[in-house]
């Protein structure tokens, strides 16, 4: 019976098979429990939020302005604010992010400047979002005189998600085989023409997926927008990018801070709304990835 052999090393008897099996089983049980902890907590979280919020959620909630009466309060201005801020964030971030990625991937020679830029992008991703808020407050709100406006908020968030978009876009560009650039350039295209007409279109799915996920991150951001001044009661739908604003997560935070318990239900309803939007964006990102990966041409 080979199984029951105990090997001795340096005179000290090794522990037998029964011990090893018991230890293995206990460890697997522990590791498995740890793995399912996340699943359990997510379930509890969703149930808590849904239980508190579902009663309030309805067309009235989406169609009403904030109010000091919890039963009349709604998220209309916050939803509108989120749409406005996201539209401008998306615009700024996609241009600057993809532009930077194209430069770094397609044009930059290996030099100290590109190295500095790369190290810098790595470190920017680790800067707390509230610090971006301080930057936005000093530069956009006061320095550029934008005030506590949609534009100031959108610029702040665009800088915040820029590293994510640059990394995703570079990955997308890198996955396009060099032969495509070479073929285009052999036919007389300049480097830029090759990138613009051939490489970039081929990289769109990866870039788009990263872009949607980055926007999903921006939609949930609360702290930087509060610092640039989104913590206000907004009783109108903004009509211009220089208007003051609030967004859904900030509105949720402001409800959480109210002492009346009924406002907690509004907060929960706002969270259900926010999570629904996020799930939809994630679903779109997954669909984009799947649809295009099937159509891959090389």
């Amino acid at each position: 019976m080979i199984r029951n052999i105990t090997i001795s090393r340096g005179g000290k008897a090794r522990r037998g098979h029964g011990f090893r099996r018991g230890r293995g089983a206990a460890f697997v049980a522990l590791a498995m429990t740890a793995s399912f902890l996340g699943v359990v907590v997510l379930a509890v979280l969703l149930i808590t939020v849904a239980r508190d919020g579902i009663g309030v959620l309805g067309l009235d909630f989406i169609n009403s302005y904030p109010s000091y009466k919890p039963e009349e309060a709604g998220a209309k201005s916050a939803l509108a604010g989120t749409l406005w801020v996201m539209a401008f964030t998306a615009l700024f971030a996609i241009i600057a992010g993809v532009g930077a990625a194209i430069y770094l991937e397609e044009f930059a020679r290996r030099s100290w400047i590109t190295r500095v830029i790369e190290i810098n992008i790595n470190n920017l991703a680790g800067v707390p979002s509230v610090v971006y808020g301080l930057l936005g407050l000093a530069v956009f709100v006061y320095g550029m005189g934008l005030g506590r406006s949609i534009l100031a908020g959108a610029l702040t968030l665009a800088l915040l998600i820029l590293p994510i978009i640059i990394v995703a876009s570079r990955e997308g560009l890198r996955s396009v085989p060099p032969s495509m650039r070479e073929a285009a350039m052999a036919l007389g295209a300049t480097r830029w023409q090759a990138v613009w007409h051939q490489v970039l279109p081929a990289a769109v799915p990866t870039i788009l997926t990263g872009f949607i996920l980055a926007l999903a991150r921006a939609i949930g951001e609360t702290a930087p927008l509060i610092v640039v001044g989104a913590f206000t009661t907004v009783l109108f739908v903004p009509t211009s990018p220089t208007d003051s604003f609030t967004v859904l997560p900030v509105q949720i935070y402001s409800w959480i801070g109210r002492p009346l318990p009924a406002f907690q239900e509004n907060a929960a309803a706002g969270i259900v709304l926010l999570l629904t939007v996020l799930m939809m964006m994630n679903a779109v990102a997954i669909i984009v990835r799947n649809v295009y990966s099937r159509r891959s041409r090389w």
């Binding site: 793995s35 808590t48 470190n123 680790g126 913590f231």
Partner: protein, 307 residues
């Protein structure tokens, strides 16, 4: 004849290059935005912090034990904010690190494909949940339903509640970074260990984990940096009063929560309160930057390189 063709081709190329010069310049500008952002962050924080330190001495700031900038007698000792940040961050890591590491070991070494493909997306969803939601979860579930019955306290806000919510928030990060490191360990190492008679537990804990240690340590450091900079959970669930205490059942205010307190109020520019959030922000920035750099250093220096 041939000459003129070559000539016109050259002219065409020159024209193209001239036309594309602005495009290139624009792309380069885009790449510079990230550098300008970093420089901007550093300059803005330094500028306002210097104004702050003109009114409050650095020594008073770093050694004072009272933080009451919004009271009539203003005191600017940052220690209560620091201790609260440290306590909550380490408690959060104390939850997230073991759970995240065990999750990573399970997913990388044990889990059958079916479980892997369920747990991983769930963790991704958990990672995508906005922090304001975790804050709500802390005060609407963790504090009343777990901490209150367990410790018999009456406080609505506790450092422990915030730390638990933050710990949950950090699990996906620790798990996915550690798992990446473990999956990068070559199979031959595992096979070698099996060949000399190790069981699965020994392979996982005594071979794979040590081989992936640099990645695991970096994951812990990055998670700690994230915890230090986390804002909404502590603002909502840990309370808004600065408190120099190591009792996790008390309410306390972190550095980030203080910034939020001033930001949600009406503090005009040029006041010492306004400047104080930049001084605290500078400190926060230095802490998170050091932790991030340390993580990168660990990855670069102690990485095991396999063929």
């Amino acid at each position: 004849m041939a000459n003129t063709i070559a000539e016109s081709a050259r002219k065409r190329r020159l024209r193209q290059r001239l036309r594309e010069a602005p495009i290139l310049a624009f792309l380069f500008t885009c790449a510079l935005v990230s550098v300008v952002t970093t420089v901007g962050i550093v300059l803005v924080l330094l500028e306002e912090a210097l104004l702050f330190f003109r009114e409050v001495s650095v020594v008073e700031f770093l050694t004072g034990t009272e933080w009451t900038p919004l009271f009539s007698i203003k005191q600017f000792g940052v220690l209560p904010l620091l201790s609260a940040t440290a306590l909550i961050s380490f408690m959060a890591l104390g939850i997230a690190f073991p759970v995240g590491l065990l999750t990573a070991i399970y997913l990388s070494e044990y889990a059958p494909e079916g479980i892997r493909s369920t747990v991983k997306p769930v963790l991704e969803v958990l990672a995508g949940i906005p922090t304001v939601v975790f804050g709500f979860f802390a005060i609407s579930f963790i504090n009343p339903s777990i901490i209150k019955p367990l410790f018999n306290t009456d406080t609505i806000f506790t450092a422990l509640g915030a730390a638990m919510a933050m710990g949950v928030m950090l699990i996906p990060m620790v798990a996915s970074l550690s798992e990446d490191a473990m999956r990068a360990v070559p199979t031959s190492l595992r096979e070698g260990a099996y060949a000399v008679g190790s069981d699965r537990f020994q392979v996982s804990v005594k071979v794979v984990v040590p081989a992936a240690l640099s990645g695991i340590v970096a994951a812990a450091l990055l998670a700690l940096a994230r915890a230090v900079g986390e804002t909404m959970i502590v603002t909502i669930a840990a309370g808004g009063v600065s408190n120099l205490s190591w009792n996790p059942l008390e309410a306390m205010q972190t550095m980030t929560a203080y910034i939020m307190e001033v930001a949600t109020g009406d503090t005009p520019r040029g006041t010492v309160e306004y400047e104080s959030i930049f001084a605290v922000g500078l400190m926060l920035f230095l802490f998170t930057l050091s932790l991030n750099l340390l993580a990168q250093l660990v990855l670069a220096k102690f990485r095991e390189i396999y063929e």
